[in-house]
């Protein structure tokens, strides 16, 4: 009978066709990447020297690469890595960014000033350089482990989230319902968690959704540079570029991972834009 403002926003989101399309495509790709490889017993690393550089056919839908590996298997398994990195690094940055920004915005004054100057300082650092440094630092101890990637990407992405949350919390802090709750004797922690943060939730969700594609791109870029740790779309695109030459182009090796990467990024952006439209604080009536 009664819907919360959040439920109302979700109902409006379902009426946005582009956002729904983005959501459906994303779900299909994610499900495919997670479920298909074990179901079809696909092995992305099985080399078949006799079947190198095969164009797409009934047997190999996407063709094979220069070592005779099935590109369907490689694209799907690579997608797992890309999506996982996107989600995990975003989670890290949301947790750090929201906590940091919320505290700064809630207490304001000198605390806010000091905390935000640190963010400004970190903004000033060349973040790619920072990521590469972190990755190199961990590369000796944890080769092939994906945790350093999550951390490295998450730790450079939280800055924007912290700024956004801090601004929102700062404004909400002086809202009358927060004052009213404070006047009724509610403690700081409870005030922040129960009264302030739920009202920032929409904004957090929008930016988290838009952060996932940027993290995926970053990871792809790292892989492209040869700094990735596992098979991912970025790595596949890099492989594909390597075999493009004027004499003979095996276009499918580059095409399929690029297509999947592109669809995923566009879908996430559609979904994020749709969310922003329905959750924007100014659009709320």
């Amino acid at each position: 009978m009664t819907s919360s403002p959040f439920q109302l926003a979700m109902q409006r989101l379902l009426r946005n066709r582009v956002a729904v399309l983005g959501g459906v495509l994303l779900a299909l790709i994610a499900l495919g990447c997670v479920l298909l490889p074990p179901l079809l017993e696909l092995d992305p690393n099985l080399t078949q020297p006799a079947l190198r550089n095969q164009p797409p056919s009934a047997k190999f839908l996407f063709g094979t690469d220069n070592l005779g590996r099935d590109l369907v298997a490689r694209v799907l398994v690579g997608g797992r890595t890309s999506l996982l990195v996107g989600l995990a690094a975003t989670t890290v940055s949301v947790l750090v960014g929201v906590a940091y920004g919320a505290v700064a915005g809630f207490y304001g004054g000198k605390i806010d000033e000091a905390m935000m100057r640190l963010v400004d300082f970190m903004y000033g650092l060349p973040y790619m350089f920072l990521v590469i440094l972190i990755m190199l630092m961990f590369s000796e101890t944890a080769r092939g482990d994906m945790l350093p990637v999550f951390l490295a990407l998450g730790l450079v992405q939280w800055l924007t989230m912290a700024r956004i949350v801090r601004g929102q919390v700062l404004a909400l802090r002086r809202q009358e319902f927060v004052l009213a709750a404070e006047l009724l004797g509610v403690s700081d922690a409870r005030l922040l968690i129960r009264h302030v943060l739920p009202n920032v939730f929409g904004v957090i969700m929008v930016y988290a959704t838009l952060m996932v594609p940027s993290v995926i791109i970053l990871e792809s870029f790292l892989s492209f540079l040869g700094l990735g740790v596992a098979l991912s779309w970025g790595q596949l695109v890099s492989d594909g570029i390597a075999v493009i030459n004027p004499v003979r182009s095996y276009w499918w090796i580059l095409f399929w991972p690029s297509l999947f990467l592109g669809i995923t990024l566009i879908s996430l952006n559609f979904l994020g834009d749709g969310l922003r439209d329905v959750l924007d604080p100014k659009g709320k009536t």
């Binding site: 009978m1 009664t2 819907s3 919360s4 403002p5 959040f6 304001g108 004054g109 000198k110 002086r174 809202q175 009358e176 319902f177 927060v178 004052l179 009213a180 709750a181 404070e182 006047l183 009724l184 004797g185 509610v186 403690s187 129960r194 009264h195 739920p198 009202n199 939730f201 709320k284």
Partner: protein, 330 residues
């Protein structure tokens, strides 16, 4: 002395920004007795809201500096620790705000907002808490359980203000601070809310500190009125006396700028010319109202007049003789 519920002495609130300091409230002293409704009147920026917020220790720290004394019963509130203030807030002193649209959390159902207070101060939960919520809602004129499950956006402005009042009264506070609770409501709802506050106040023998700039509202609900100008008290009197025979030119000017349907011929309105003074922390060389005062004279420019007792329960800060205020129109 101990008969007063709230006792404010020499309260000053200073805000310091990078550029300058502003004393928003300057040596304000007044009392609120048990069961009394006191009106705090003045134009925007005169320090009414700042005064009320300091009672609950609610200032943007560390920008606002509060000095003086605010005693609630036997308890001193200026400089009290946050945890001691939390014991008082919502429990012995509650507050309702101007805008009922923004004083409720849009993401919480009515019952969740009410339950929080009950659990915090009375430790009530479950069916007991629910019974108390239904009781208080029926007292503020919102019958029926389905309103408990509503979100604020599903309620009208008047109903939201009733919810705010219910929330403020859950723990039977001794003092309710009402910061322009009717300003954002239309006139009919305004009358209903005033009537409701009056009834609840009589039933509970609760004190209300009523902040407003509407003298019509004052005449309906307040026992006693305090008029503030530029962070200072300029006049204090029983409501009827103040409205009939203002003894300060500012109060007089306020009354003349208020529309009144009771006066035959409608009575013409006289706005107060000029602007309130820029506040600073320096001592005043002259009466703060001089630039806008129709009764200003040479003597007004030599130092600020003191707040003096003019009659029983009457204080005024003006050098113009009372007899002249009564006989000569400005």
């Amino acid at each position: 002395m101990s008969e007063e519920l709230l006792c404010i002495r020499d309260l000053s609130v200073t805000f310091t920004t990078r550029e300058r300091s502003v004393r928003a409230v300057d040596k304000v002293s007044f009392d609120v007795r048990p069961g009394e409704v006191v009106g705090l009147v003045g134009e925007s920026g005169c320090g009414k809201s700042v005064t009320s917020l300091s009672i609950l220790g609610l200032h943007e720290q560390p920008a606002g500096r509060v000095t003086g004394s605010i005693r609630l019963g036997e308890r001193e509130l200026v400089g009290a620790s946050p945890s001691r203030l939390r014991e008082v807030r919502g429990n012995r002193v509650s507050m309702i705000f101007q805008d009922p649209l923004t004083s409720l959390n849009p993401y919480l159902r009515v019952e969740e907002q009410l339950a929080e207070v009950l659990e915090l101060h009375l430790g009530l939960r479950g069916p007991k808490a629910r019974a108390r919520m239904l009781e208080i809602l029926s007292q503020v004129g919102i019958p029926g359980e389905e309103r408990l499950r509503a979100y604020p956006h599903q309620l009208s402005g008047g109903m939201r203000q009733r919810i705010c009042i219910a929330m403020a009264l859950l723990c039977n506070p001794e003092l309710l601070i009402a910061d322009e609770p009717t300003t954002m409501l239309d006139v009919t709802i305004q009358a209903q809310i005033l009537e409701l506050l009056r009834t609840l106040q009589r039933e509970r023998k609760m004190s209300i500190l009523f902040i407003t700039h509407d003298l019509g509202v004052v005449s309906e609900i307040c026992d006693r009125v305090i008029v503030m100008y530029a962070g200072r008290i300029v006049e204090q009197a029983r409501t009827a006396e103040l409205l009939q025979t203002p003894w300060h030119p500012y109060t007089e000017a306020l009354l003349q700028s208020t529309p009144c349907v009771d006066v035959p011929g409608g009575g013409s309105l006289h706005p107060i010319g000029g602007l309130p003074p820029r506040l600073s922390t320096e001592k005043l060389e002259e009466c703060a109202f001089v630039p806008r005062c129709p009764r200003a004279r040479e003597g007004c420019k030599h130092g600020e007049p003191a707040l003096e007792s003019a009659a029983d329960e009457r204080l005024r800060r003006c050098i113009v003789p009372v007899a002249e205020m009564l006989s000569v129109r400005p």
